[in-house]
């Protein structure tokens, strides 16, 4: 196909603004799928995605419109996957920005729009859901113009649900989005913007050919990773795989690599031929590093091998997932896992529980810390219990956070951000009633319950997005918890010095409620180093014996005893003290209680 007749674009939107519905309508209108084949939100193929209305893994679909070849590159819709979004956008020349006519611009609208602008994309603004009674298409179009410039005439007003004006979106894509301008004769370069794993065919890379051409059977190389493989099959999605002999400059398609490990082919890498290949890769490859960590332990320690196998399988489809074995004296054998963010963590956990039927205990999440040891070396710490007590310096990751709220809630949001050690950056009125606040915040303050707090303090009106802004020095302390005089590794936490005392105090109070009374008094202490900062005691119970037991009911009483014994097994033994698994989650909700 002549490059001048190709258009590559993404649809970007805040969650629930109608991105998937618009994609569905486009597939129908271009007769890429028949009515009969149509399932709602066809592109979101994973069960979880469909349920949560979010797109986790991007895919690309080719459609035909008025003599043009349009490649719709779907993008993940959440903050955790910013890097993947940016790679998808890099594969495009334009983006359709969808804004809900009833909601207006939200935080992800902004974040995505900025990403598109950074990637120099032509943006086609679309106001969706104009059929809703509460829709304000004119006001929303004005907000969009305020953000992007241009005129409100250029804003396409549609209802993806009913199909109204969706043809105008396709026309605008053809008219306004530039055609690709790669070098068809140059050595091939193709950007990997997504990959997935097929259990029969191995890793399948989704690529945008920038220069040259890829042909079936050619020996290829992923330039950043240095991975070599043969192009076993090339093709495009429509929306099923359609094999072709070659992919030309400007085209979007897939490459069956035969690789058995997704980690050998990373999103953002450049594919070229092994013979006569390009020497300079496409710009922008980044090794995405997990920023949020948590321990995953099987509730039943016998399930450890199943958990290991499940993580291996998930990792095949999720190169960003990191895991390494972790042994906790309190929780036994498990894995310390690294995630891009909280949603990523939640998705992984749900998939492990749902698809692999595992019962998991997930410890409170923490961020990655950079720690300077006595010898001057910096190391990265993923677990509070691994934090050296004599660290020379500690750095923690910061994010640049954008919060959009109705103006009445500005005070509440500022208060929350200040409590969480936020540094105010700026404030801007998007319209008369809606305000954009920008803060720099430690990621560690966000991973616990920042989002929940934000939602509850703004009655759900706030929208929130962030991107990483690098590591900064932090005045941080490691708080340890001792139960019955023994340190419980899984309960250690890192807190800012100002908050350490209160966090420690709340944690031991919470643990006192969670740990059942036992045969002996159980002291619970929080300590920084050797200094105890808080102490509570679970008083010993004074009675725990069956009221009576005669010949007629020995069996029943024995079964009660066995049940009691089994209940004990479900608890984790810490220095002879039975600690219920819930107690290990106590640390999760501390900040919720810090409030008033």
């Amino acid at each position: 196909m002549d490059q001048s007749r190709i258009r590559n674009f993404s649809i970007i939107a805040h969650i629930d603004h109608g991105k998937s519905t618009l994609a569905d309508r486009i597939l129908q209108l271009t007769e890429t799928v028949s009515e009969r084949e149509m399932r709602d939100q066809l592109l979101d193929s994973m069960e979880l995605e469909r349920e949560r209305g979010i797109t986790i893994k991007a895919q690309a679909v080719r459609v035909q419109w008025k003599g043009h070849e349009l490649n719709l590159i779907d993008t993940p819709g959440h903050v955790d996957f910013t890097y993947e979004v940016s790679r998808s956008l890099q594969a495009c020349e334009g983006a359709v920005l969808v804004v809900d006519a009833a909601q207006g611009i939200e935080a992800q609208t902004l974040a995505n729009a900025y990403l598109a602008i950074e990637n120099e994309l032509e943006i086609v603004p679309v106001v969706n859901k104009i059929d809703l009674p509460s829709a304000d298409p004119a006001g929303t179009a004005a907000e969009v113009v305020e953000l992007l410039g241009g005129s409100t005439d250029g804003v396409v007003r549609i209802s993806a649900k009913t199909g109204t004006n969706v043809d105008q979106v396709l026309d605008a894509i053809v008219e306004r989005i530039p055609a690709p301008e790669g070098e068809p004769a140059a050595p091939p370069r193709a950007l990997v913007f997504d990959s997935s794993y097929d259990q029969y065919r191995g890793v399948i890379a989704f690529v945008r050919v920038v220069d040259g051409r890829l042909s079936t059977g050619t020996g290829l190389r992923a330039m950043a990773m240095g991975t070599d493989f043969d192009a076993e099959e090339l093709g495009f999605m429509s929306p099923q795989r359609v094999p072709v002999e070659s992919l030309e400059a400007g085209e979007v398609g897939y490459v069956v690599t035969g690789l058995k490990d997704v980690s050998r082919l990373r999103v953002g890498d450049t594919l070229t031929t092994r013979k006569g290949g390009a020497t300079t890769p496409l710009p922008g490859y980044k090794d995405v590093k997990p920023m949020v960590f948590a321990g995953l332990f099987p509730t039943d320690s016998d399930d450890y091998p199943e958990l290991r196998d499940a993580l291996e399988k998930l990792k095949l489809n999720d190169a960003a997932l990191f895991y390494e074995p972790e042994t906790s004296q309190a929780l036994g054998f498990g894995f310390r896992c690294g995630f891009l963010g909280l949603l990523h963590m939640e998705i992984v956990r749900e998939r492990l529980e749902r698809e692999f039927d595992l019962d998991l205990l997930v410890t409170a999440p923490n961020v990655a810390y950079q720690v300077k040891g006595k010898n001057g070396d910096w190391l990265e710490v993923h677990n509070p219990a691994d934090m050296p007590r004599d660290a020379e310096a500690v750095q923690e990751p910061y994010v640049r956070a954008q919060v959009i709220v109705p103006k009445d809630y500005v005070g509440s949001v500022m208060e929350l951000c200040t409590e969480r050690r936020g540094r105010f950056d700026h404030m801007e009125y998007l319209s008369e009633s809606r305000v954009l606040l920008t803060y720099e915040l430690p990621l560690g303050e966000i991973v616990l319950d920042f989002y929940d707090q934000l939602k509850s303090r703004t009655r759900g009106y706030a929208s929130f997005d962030y991107d990483l802004a690098g590591f900064r020095d932090g005045d941080l302390s490691r708080v340890d918890v001792l139960v019955g005089g023994e340190q419980v590794d899984a309960l250690s936490l890192i807190a800012h010095r100002d908050a350490a005392y209160e966090r420690g105090k709340l944690l031991v109070e919470r643990l006192r409620e969670e740990i059942p009374r036992q045969m002996f008094d159980v002291p619970i202490q929080a300590a920084i180093g050797s200094r105890v900062i808080a102490r509570e005691t679970v008083k010993a119970k004074r009675k725990d014996v069956l009221a009576k037991c005669y010949g007629g009911d020995i069996t029943r009483k024995r079964k009660l005893l066995e049940k009691q014994k089994k209940g004990k097994k479900r608890m984790k033994q810490v220095g002879g003290i039975e600690v219920p698994q819930e107690a290990f989650l106590a640390v999760l909700n501390l900040d919720g209680e810090r409030k008033r």
């Binding site: 119970k541 725990d544 014996v545 009576k548 005669y550 007629g552 009911d553």
Partner: protein
Amino acid sequence: MTRPGHGAVRHLYVHLPFCAHRCGYCDFVTAVGRADEHAAYVDALLVELQLERPRLADDVETVFLGGGTPTFTEPTSLARLLDRLPDAEELTVEANPETVTQALAALLGEHGVTRISLGAQSFRPRLLEVLERQARPEDVRRAVHTLRDAGFDNISLDLVYGIPGQSAADLEADLAEALALEPEHLSCYELEAKPGTRFTHAHGEELRRQSEAMEDYFERVVETLTGGGYRWYETANFCREGRDRELRAQHNLAIWRGADYLGVGVGAVSTVAGERRRNLPSVGRYVAALAAGHAPPREVEALDDATRAVERLMLGLRLDEPFDVERLNGTVDRLELERLVDGGLVERRGNDSITLTRRGRLLGGAVTAALLG
């Protein structure tokens, strides 16, 4: 008189299910039957006893008639049953206070009954009503005097604590009333909200609410009764230290020590030679089977050595006497044992045996679970 056989079992339990009224908290096998049904039932009992006779030893030591309300059984039938029981050193009959008349006391005495277990439960009229007991407080006192007059010198009273609405003062009063009657033996139970009973349905929530207070109540019971000169020989049982007389309940003591026992009657349980049998609870089916000369319908549970060891420990640690843990062959977790000794819940008695301390006995269930590792 039924002649004993040549088996090894020295303890016999006989179940008489009939009651005037089924109390809300009761989960025993009971029936509210007419007099002719009593006779048919006793006939069936005697047939079962005949069938099981080969299991009994020549010298049966204890017989226990429980219910139901054995003394509610129509007197002719009751006398006929008593006549046919094997001779034993201890023959206990459970009685409800309102059933105790001079005639009944005489009947029991004439037929060799040596011990009466009287279901007093409480002396507070309000609490007796909650329990749906038929007896009034004066019935309890009168019953004890009637039995004494008839010559009974081994009387046990059952008390219940933790009745919904029972204050600490109520409990103190009940204990004082019981002590004033100078029974040889006292059984004192926390009221259990057994699943499925009408009582649990009505009062379960309140029982859960007051469960913390039961720690105090239990300690108060133990303190008051031991202070009154009674020996706390089993978790829920107390006896006077008799001059040359053994006043522990011999039948139950044997079971707590792990002896085999034979149970006959509807719902009765036997543990004989590594097997536990439970007759099914339907009176009609029980009587019909035995009328045809067959064994009654029952369920059987095989008890392997490990299970027996767990039961031995569970039962043995309820007693105040030394328990030989070594003979259980590794059932007991040694590390836990050390911890419990260090923590003052268990005391060693020589090389092989242990006893629980006072606090250990109050926590007996948890201690047993811990020892099982």
